[in-house]
C-alpha cells in the first residue's frame, strides 16, 4: 500500500507501523467518575467496520509522524491522510 503522507508525499506503507482505530485518540479521563467502565470500552471494544476506517499509522522509518489514515477495509482504498496531532486537536485534545 501507499500512504500519501501530508508532509512527505507518497510513501510505501512498509515504512509505517500500524496501531488501530483512530478512536484511540479519545482517551477517557482517568481521574473522572466512572473511568473504569470508560477505559474498558476504550481499550477493548472496536467498531471494526467493513468499509471506511479511520486508523492510526506511525511513520517509524521516516519522520515519526503519527497519521490518521482513512482507508476502506474492503478495497484498501485510502481517501484521506492527516496528521494525528491535527485530528487530536480538532477532537479537543490538548494537554
Amino acid at each position: 500500500m501507499i500512504i500519501n503522507h501530508p508532509l512527505l508525499g507518497p510513501r510505501d506503507s512498509q515504512e509505517f507501523v500500524y496501531l488501530g482505530d483512530a478512536a484511540l485518540i479519545r482517551r477517557p479521563d482517568g481521574m473522572a467518575d466512572g473511568a473504569l467502565d470508560k477505559f474498558i470500552d476504550y481499550t477493548y471494544l472496536r467498531d471494526n467496520p467493513a468499509g471506511q476506517h479511520r486508523e492510526l499509522w506511525y511513520h517509524e522509518q521516516g519522520d515519526r509522524s503519527w497519521l490518521v489514515v482513512t482507508r476502506n477495509t474492503v478495497s484498501h482504498e485510502i481517501t484521506a491522510v492527516e496528521l494525528a496531532r491535527d485530528v487530536a486537536r480538532t477532537e479537543g485534545r490538548s494537554k
Binding site: V17, G30, M31, A35, I78, A88, R89
Partner: protein, 965 residues
C-alpha cells in the same frame, strides 16, 4: 517430426543438452520443449495421480504436463515447465515423478486402478484402524505424491530485490502491449514494458499474420528497436508480473540468469521488482483451451495454437501427419500454416458436427477416432493433434483483487472485470479483442486514456492488420463413451470426476475445485478450469456465469522462494548491530550473544578457563570484589525536553517524575493502557526541562513509538520533544567497590559521594570530552553509568580498561550482568513478559493513583489485584548442590504434577558465585506472603524435582548499603 523451415532460431549455432541422460542438440531461440519436439521427443512427463504418459500441450507458461527437473546438484529445480526453459549449452533435465524410468513407470498401475481412485476416494477410506493412517497409509501416499524433488542442498545462487517507478506499466509485449508502449513512449511517458518471454512480440512471433504489410514478427522486432531507443521506456524481457497489489504496486520477477548454465559472476539468478505504477495496462493475451474427449491426454495432442507456434516460431513439425480439432476459426489458421509448411493436415471442425472421440498410442499419439457429423466414425493415423476450444482472455492479474469476471457469450469466455483494480485497464486479447487489429487498436487506445488521466497527451499511429472474427461455437467436451476425458491434465481430473462431484453435491465451484483438485496443480488450471466449470454448468442446468467464475490469486506463475527471500539469508537474515566496544571485545576473544539485532558480549574468557561458568563466576566475583565494566549501550536512550517534559513523564510512567530534583535519577515503571508493565528503566533529570530516559534493550523502539503516540495523539499540546539517542551515546556501566576510584582517573569533575551521591546524574567531561554520568546500579554495587558520544566509545572502553588495571578490573558480559541482577532481585526480560503487572513484580506501590497515567485505571481491575495472584519471589534450593531450571513450575510437597496444583514458575535462574548455589526468581501464587515456605520446583521436561525455599528476591545486600557506599 523434425525441423522444418523458418522460425526464430539461430541455426548457425548448436546447443548441446540432455534429457534423462540422452544427448540432444538444439539452437539458440529454442525452448527445452521445442528442442525436444525437434528431436522427436514427445514423452516428457507423467501425470500426478495416474502416472499417465504426457507430452507438451502448450507453448507457454500455462503448461500443465511437460514439467521436468532442470539442472542437477544444488541447482536442481523441480517442476520446471519445458515450454519456458530457454535452451542453453550443457542444459540437463530429467523427467520426474516416475520410477524406474519415464517409459516404464511402475506407478502407472494407478491408471489401471483408476476406478478405485475416483475424486475424493481418500476421504471415504483409510479410517480403520485409526493408528494406521500415520503408520501405513499416509507414508505410502506421501511417497507416491509430490512431483519433482529438491536437492536438499542450500541454494547456491544470489537473488536481488529492486524498486521501479513508472507512469505506465504494460504487462505483456504482444501486439497490444507493443502498441500501447509505442503510443505512451512516443508521448514521453515513463513506461515499463514487461514480458515473461525472452522475445517480445507475443503471438506475433508464432503467427504468419501481417502487420503493416510485412510480417508481424518483423513489425514486433522493429517496434522493440524503436522502444529500446527511448530513454523513457524500460523493456523487461524474461520478466513475469506476478500479481497486482494495492495502490498500483506490482510484483515482478526478472529471470536474469535462468537462460544460462549458471549466473555470471556478480549477477543474481533472479530479481524481485516492486513496480510502483501510476497506471497499468494488462495486455497478457489469451490462453487457448482444449476440448475434452476420451484419452485426450496423450503426448502429441496439444493446443492448436501451440502446434502452430512450434511450426512458425521454432520451425518444428510435431508430426508429419496432423489433425486439427477446433470449434473456432483460429484452428483453421493452424491448418493453413501447417499445410503451408508442407504437412498433411486433416480438419475436424466441431461446428460442422465433427468430433474427435478417442485416441490411441501408449507413449505417444498414434491415431485418433473421429466421428463425423453424419455419424460415421473413422480412425486417422496421426502423430499430432491440435485442439482448439477457443481462447480465454488472460485476465489472471485483473482478478487479483477478487473482482468478478464478466461472461462474454460471443467468445464463450470470461472477460476481465472493469475497474476491479484501480489504475489498471486491459487491452488486446486479454480484453477480448481477439484480432491483431483489435489488439493494436485497444493497446493504443488504453495507453491514450491512461496517459490522459495523468495529464499527458498521446496520439496513435496504427499499422494495418487483420481483423477477422472469432466465429466460435462453444464446445466443451465430447459426450461419448465410457472412458475418461481429461480436464485438469496434471492432477488427473476428468469429466467423470466432475460428474461425481455433482452427484455428491460438491456443486459450488470452490467445492468442485477442492473435492476434485481441479485447477490446484502447478498450472493453476489456466487451460482446464473453464472446462470444469462448463461441465458443472451443464450438469446443474445453469449457465456458466451462474455456476461460478474463474478468478486467480497471485502469483501469475509459480515464483522461486529464493527470489522472494532476496538477500535476507544466513548471516544477512537481519541487520547486525555492534556495540561501541565490539571491536575491542573481538580483540579480547569475547563470546557474543544475539540480543535482538545487537550482538553483545556474553562473557570474556581468559586463558585457562574451560567452561563459561568459570568466566562468568570470575566476572561477577571480581566486580563485587573490586570493579567491573560492562557495555550497556544497547539500552534505549531517549532525550525528553520541553516545558511539559515532567508532566509528560507523569502521564507515561506509573510513578511521578515531575517532582524529581534536577541532577537526580529515578527508577520508572511504564505501563500499557491495560495495566500490564510495558517497560522499566531509569530516567534522569538533567535540567529544568530536560530528562534522559533509559529503556530496556528489547523495548527501545516500541517505547519511543509509544512516547511519540502519547505526545502527538493523546496530548498534542504538550510542550515536549523527543529524540532517540540510543545510537548517539556509548554507555558503560562501571560497578564495584572501586568504581569511583576508577572513574576518578578519567572524569574531570568531583564525583565523591558528597558531590555525586547515589542516584545523581549530570553532564560531565572525560578528559575534556563531553559525557553524561549517572550514579545508578543494576548490580547492587556502587556503580555508575557513563556515556560518551558514540564515536568515542571504542576509546572509552580502552580508557576504562586501562584505568582499571590498578584495580584488576574486569569487563563483564550479559551473563554476569544477569547473575548480579538476579542476586539483586531486579526484574528483566523474563519477568517483563507482557503478562505481568506492577503488583505481580512486587512494585504495586509504584503505581500512583493520584494522577492519570497510562495504565493506572485498568491496573485496578479486580482480576489484577487478587491477593492470590502471582508475586515475584526469590527461590533457593534447600540442598545447595541442586541446580534450578528456569521454566520449572512450583508444586507443594507431595502434590501431583497436574495443573490444579500449579503454583507458578521460575522465571530466571542463575548460579550465584557469591552465595555458592543456584538461585532464582519466580512468579508464585500469593508469593508475597509465603517467604520461608518450602516447595518443589519441578521440570517435567527433564524429570527434575528440587526442594526449594521461598525467600526475598533480594539475595544480595538487601539494604542497599553497597550501592550507596
Amino acid at each position: 517430426m523434425s525441423r522444418i523451415t523458418g522460425g526464430q532460431i539461430d541455426r548457425s549455432k548448436t546447443l548441446r543438452f540432455s534429457f534423462d541422460g540422452v544427448a540432444y542438440a538444439g539452437h539458440p531461440g529454442d525452448t527445452l520443449a521445442s528442442a525436444l519436439l525437434a528431436n522427436g521427443v514427445r514423452l516428457m512427463g507423467r501425470s500426478f495421480k495416474y502416472h499417465r504418459p504426457r507430452g507438451v500441450i502448450s507453448a507457454g507458461s500455462e503448461e500443465p504436463n511437460a514439467i521436468v527437473e532442470l539442472r542437477s546438484g544444488a541447482r536442481q529445480e523441480p517442476n520446471t515447465r519445458a515450454t519456458v526453459i530457454e535452451l542453453f549449452d550443457g542444459l540437463q533435465a530429467q523427467s520426474q515423478n516416475r520410477w524406474p524410468s519415464l517409459k516404464f513407470d511402475a506407478l502407472a498401475i494407478n491408471d489401471r486402478l483408476s476406478p478405485f481412485f475416483a475424486a475424493g476416494f481418500y476421504y471415504k477410506t483409510f479410517m480403520w484402524p485409526a493408528a494406521f493412517w500415520e503408520k501405513l497409509y499416509e507414508p505410502i501416499i506421501r511417497r507416491a505424491a509430490g512431483l519433482g524433488s529438491l536437492s536438499k542442498q542450500d541454494d547456491p545462487d544470489d537473488y536481488d530485490k529492486g524498486f521501479l517507478h513508472c507512469d505506465l506499466l504494460i504487462i505483456g509485449a504482444g501486439p497490444a502491449g507493443l502498441s500501447a508502449a509505442l503510443t505512451a513512449g512516443r508521448a514521453g511517458a515513463r513506461v515499463i514494458l514487461a514480458d515473461e518471454d525472452f522475445r517480445m512480440g507475443g503471438r506475433l512471433n508464432a503467427e504468419t499474420l501481417e502487420v503493416g504489410g510485412g510480417s508481424g514478427a518483423d513489425w514486433a522486432a522493429k517496434a522493440v528497436l524503436e522502444l529500446a531507443a527511448m530513454p523513457n521506456v524500460r523493456l523487461m524481457t524474461r520478466t513475469t508480473v506476478i500479481g497486482a497489489f494495492d495502490h498500483g504496486i506490482y510484483g515482478a520477477v526478472e529471470r536474469v540468469s535462468d537462460h544460462l548454465a549458471q549466473p555470471l559472476p556478480g549477477k543474481p539468478r533472479q530479481i524481485l521488482w516492486r513496480i510502483y505504477a501510476a497506471r497499468s495496462i494488462l495486455a497478457a493475451g489469451a490462453i487457448e483451451r482444449p476440448i475434452a474427449f476420451e484419452n485426450n491426454d496423450r503426448p502429441g495432442i496439444m493446443l492448436a495454437g501451440a502446434l502452430r507456434a512450434y511450426a512458425n516460431r521454432w520451425g518444428v513439425a510435431v508430426g508429419d501427419r496432423v489433425a486439427v480439432f477446433t470449434n473456432n476459426d483460429d484452428g483453421l489458421r493452424t491448418v493453413a500454416d501447417l499445410k503451408a509448411k508442407g504437412l498433411d493436415v486433416t480438419l475436424i471442425d466441431a461446428r460442422q458436427g465433427d468430433e474427435v472421440i478417442d485416441s490411441a498410442g501408449r507413449l505417444g499419439l498414434k491415431s485418433i477416432t473421429v466421428r463425423r457429423g453424419n455419424g460415421r466414425t473413422e480412425t486417422l493415423a496421426v502423430s499430432a493433434l491440435g485442439v482448439s476450444g477457443g481462447w480465454n482472455p488472460n485476465l489472471n492479474i485483473a482478478s487479483n483483487h477478487r473482482g468478478r469476471p464478466v461472461w462474454s457469450e460471443s467468445l464463450a469466455a470470461f472477460l476481465p472485470p472493469e475497474g476491479a483494480i484501480a489504475g489498471l485497464s486491459c487491452a488486446g486479447a486479454a480484453a477480448g479483442a481477439m484480432s491483431t487489429h483489435g489488439a493494436l487498436t485497444t493497446g493504443a487506445d488504453q495507453a491514450v486514456q491512461a496517459l490522459a488521466s495523468l495529464g499527458l497527451t498521446a496520439s496513435t499511429d496504427l499499422p494495418q492488420a487483420e481483423d477477422a472474427p472469432v466465429n466460435l461455437k462453444a464446445h466443451w467436451y465430447v459426450h461419448s463413451g465410457k472412458g475418461r476425458a481429461w480436464i485438469d491434465q496434471q492432477n488427473d481430473v476428468t469429466v467423470k470426476d466432475v460428474k461425481l462431484a455433482k452427484q455428491e453435491n460438491f456443486v459450488s465451484v470452490e467445492h468442485l475445485k477442492r473435492y476434485t483438485t481441479l485447477g490446484m496443480a502447478t498450472d493453476q488450471g489456466k487451460t482446464g478450469n473453464i472446462l470444469g466449470l462448463a461441465v458443472m454448468a451443464e450438469l446443474t442446468g445453469k449457465t456458466i456465469p451462474e455456476t461460478g467464475t474463474t478468478i486467480y490469486r497471485p502469483p501469475y506463475t509459480p515464483v522461486a522462494m529464493g527470489v522472494l527471500g532476496g538477500r535476507a539469508r544466513g548471516e544477512d537474515f537481519k541487520p547486525t548491530r555492534h556495540t561501541p566496544s565490539h571491536k575491542w571485545a573481538t580483540e579480547q576473544g569475547a563470546v557474543f550473544v544475539e540480543v535482538g539485532y545487537w550482538l553483545r558480549t556474553q562473557w570474556l574468557p581468559r586463558a585457562g578457563e574451560t567452561t563459561w561458568r568459570q568466566s562468568v563466576d570470575r566476572e561477577v566475583l571480581q566486580t563485587r570484589k573490586s570493579v567491573g565494566i560492562c557495555d550497556v549501550t544497547t539500552l534505549g536512550k531517549i532525550d525528553i525536553q520541553g516545558t511539559d517534559a515532567g508532566a509528560f513523564l507523569d502521564k507515561v510512567y506509573a510513578n511521578t517524575f515531575s517532582t524529581l530534583g534536577i541532577g537526580k535519577t529515578r527508577y520508572g515503571l511504564m505501563l500499557r493502557e491495560d495495566g500490564m508493565v510495558m517497560d522499566d528503566g531509569t530516567t534522569a533529570r538533567m535540567g529544568q526541562n530536560e530528562y534522559v530516559m533509559t529503556t530496556t534493550t528489547a523495548n527501545a523502539v516500541p517505547v519511543f513509538r509509544h512516547l511519540e503516540y502519547c505526545r502527538q495523539v493523546l496530548w498534542p499540546d504538550m510542550d515536549v520533544q523527543l529524540i532517540s539517542t540510543t545510537e548517539a551515546w556509548a554507555q558503560y556501566s562501571v560497578a564495584g567497590p572501586n568504581a569511583r576510584k576508577l572513574l576518578e582517573k578519567l572524569v574531570d569533575q568531583d564525583i565523591s559521594d558528597a558531590a555525586f551521591p547515589y542516584m545523581a546524574c549530570g553532564n560531565i567531561t572525560v578528559k575534556g570530552t563531553r559525557a553524561r554520568l549517572f550514579r545508578i546500579s543494576f548490580s547492587g554495587e556502587l556503580a555508575y553509568e557513563i556515556a560518551v558520544p558514540t564515536r568515542y566509545g571504542d576509546a572509552m572502553i580502552r580508557a576504562l580498561v586501562e584505568a582499571g588495571r590498578d584495580f584488576d578490573a574486569v569487563v563483564y558480559g550479559t551473563e554476569a550482568l544477569g547473575v548480579m541482577r538476579v542476586e539483586k532481585g531486579h526484574v528483566a526480560g523474563n519477568e517483563l513478559n507482557g503478562q505481568s503487572s506492577a503488583l505481580n513484580m512486587g512494585l504495586g506501590k509504584m503505581v500512583s493513583k493520584k494522577k492519570d497515567a497510562i495504565g493506572m485505571v485498568l491496573s485496578q481491575r479486580e482480576g489484577m489485584v487478587q491477593p492470590n495472584g502471582y508475586r515475584l519471589v526469590g527461590v533457593k534450593p534447600v540442598d545447595p548442590a541442586k541446580a534450578l531450571t528456569a521454566g520449572a513450575h512450583f508444586l507443594a510437597k507431595g502434590a501431583e504434577a497436574v495443573a490444579v496444583n500449579d503454583g507458578g514458575w521460575l522465571t530466571s535462574v542463575v548460579y550465584s558465585p557469591h552465595l555458592g548455589h543456584s538461585i532464582g526468581l519466580g512468579y508464585l501464587k500469593g508469593g508475597d506472603t509465603r517467604k520461608g515456605e518450602r516447595l518443589r520446583v519441578v521440570n517435567l521436561l527433564a524429570n527434575t524435582d528440587v526442594e526449594v525455599e521461598i525467600v526475598s528476591p533480594h539475595f544480595f545486600d538487601p539494604e542497599g548499603e553497597r550501592l550507596r557506599g
